[in-house]
C-alpha cells in the first residue's frame, strides 16, 4: 500500500503486512520476505476491530535488522576508544537479542575497580546509544560477581532459617535481585521478595508462611 519513494535510507525495504492478529501478520512477513522473525524488526501500524469485535485486523511494518545493530555497538566503541585514554580492546558478539561485549587489554583492571563501576558505566552508555540490550563483561567479572552474590544470599537465607528472623539486604538492581531470589529459593523453607519501588530495591529474606513485617 504505502509505496511512495522516500529518501530515507532503507525505505524501499519497509514492508507492510496484514493479519488477524500479530502472530499471523508476523507469519506473513516471514513467509513473504523469507527471513526469520528474529531477523527483522516490526512496528504496529494499525490495529482495528471489525464487525463488533468478531474479527480483527492488524497491520505491521517490517524492516530487516541489518547488521547495523551490532555494528552500532562496535562502531561506537571504536570511536570511543579513539578518544578514551585507556588501553582496551573488545570483542562484540550477538546472541539472541543481546549484544555481548567482552573487554580485554592492558587497562582492563581499571574496568573492574569499585565493583566494576566503569564496566557498568560503559554498559549503560552502550545500551543508550544503540537501543539494544548490551551486556558487557571482562575477566569473568559477571560470573565471579554472580557467584559471590549467590553465596552471600544463601548464607543469609541459612541464617534466617536458623534464627527465624527476617533479613533485609542492601539496595540492588534487577539483575542482582534476580540472582538473589533464585539463590534464596534453593534453601528449603525460605523465600524472598523485593521491597520498595524504583530501579533499586531491597530484598527481604524470610521463612515461608511467616510473612511478618
Amino acid at each position: 500500500m504505502e509505496n511512495q519513494e522516500k529518501n530515507e535510507p532503507g525505505a524501499e525495504e519497509l514492508k507492510e503486512f496484514k493479519g488477524k492478529n500479530l502472530e499471523e501478520a508476523i507469519g506473513h512477513a516471514e513467509h513473504k520476505l523469507k527471513i526469520l522473525r528474529s531477523e527483522f524488526n516490526y512496528e504496529i501500524v494499525t490495529e482495528k476491530t471489525k464487525l463488533f469485535g468478531l474479527s480483527k485486523e492488524i497491520v505491521i511494518r517490517v524492516w530487516p535488522k541489518i547488521e547495523a545493530e551490532e555494528n552500532a555497538v562496535a562502531d561506537f566503541l571504536q570511536k570511543l576508544l579513539r578518544v578514551f585514554p585507556l588501553d582496551l580492546s573488545y570483542q562484540v558478539k550477538k546472541k539472541n537479542d543481546f549484544v555481548f561485549v567482552v573487554f580485554d587489554g592492558e587497562d582492563k583492571q581499571i574496568l573492574l575497580w569499585k565493583d566494576g563501576e566503569l564496566l557498568l558505566a560503559l554498559q549503560h552508555i552502550l545500551n543508550k546509544v544503540s537501543n539494544q540490550k548490551v551486556q558487557v563483561d571482562c575477566e569473568f567479572f559477571r560470573k565471579r560477581k554472580e557467584k559471590r552474590l549467590r553465596e552471600y544470599a544463601q548464607d543469609v537465607a541459612r541464617e534466617v532459617c536458623d534464627t527465624g528472623r527476617n533479613e533485609i539486604l542492601d539496595l540492588m538492581n534487577p539483575y542482582e535481585r534476580r540472582i538473589v531470589h533464585i539463590a534464596v529459593n534453593q534453601v528449603p523453607g525460605i523465600t524472598s521478595e523485593s521491597l520498595g519501588d524504583g530501579f533499586l530495591k531491597r530484598v527481604k529474606i524470610f521463612p515461608i508462611g511467616k510473612q511478618g513485617k
Binding site: 578518544v83 578514551f84 585514554p85 585507556l86 581499571i110 566503569l118 558505566a121 549503560h124 543508550k128
Partner: protein, 78 residues
C-alpha cells in the same frame, strides 16, 4: 577529554548538531561544560541521572590514567 564528552553526547541525543562542549582549564581540574538542545537534556542526564553519572565515571577513569581531574557540568539553560 572534550572529544570524549562530545562523542558520547552526540551518540545519545537526537540533535547532535546542537551538542557543544566547552573546556575550562583549571590548575588541577578541567571543567567540561556540556550543552545540548533542551529536548535532549533528559537523554544526557538519564533516569535518576544514571547517564550523566556513567559519563562522569568514564571521565573519572580517564582522569585517573591522565592524572588529572575532569568535572562534567551539564548546562541546563543557555
Amino acid at each position: 577529554m572534550k572529544e570524549l564528552v562530545e562523542m558520547i553526547a552526540k551518540a545519545l541525543v537526537d540533535q547532535p548538531e546542537k551538542v557543544v562542549v566547552s573546556v575550562l582549564e583549571g590548575e588541577q581540574t578541567t571543567i567540561l561544560e556540556l550543552k545540548v538542545a533542551p529536548e535532549d537534556l533528559g537523554k544526557v542526564i538519564g533516569k535518576q541521572g544514571r547517564t550523566a553519572r556513567a559519563m562522569r565515571i568514564l571521565l573519572g577513569a580517564a582522569g585517573m590514567k591522565l592524572k588529572r581531574r575532569y568535572n562534567l557540568e551539564i548546562i541546563e539553560k543557555g
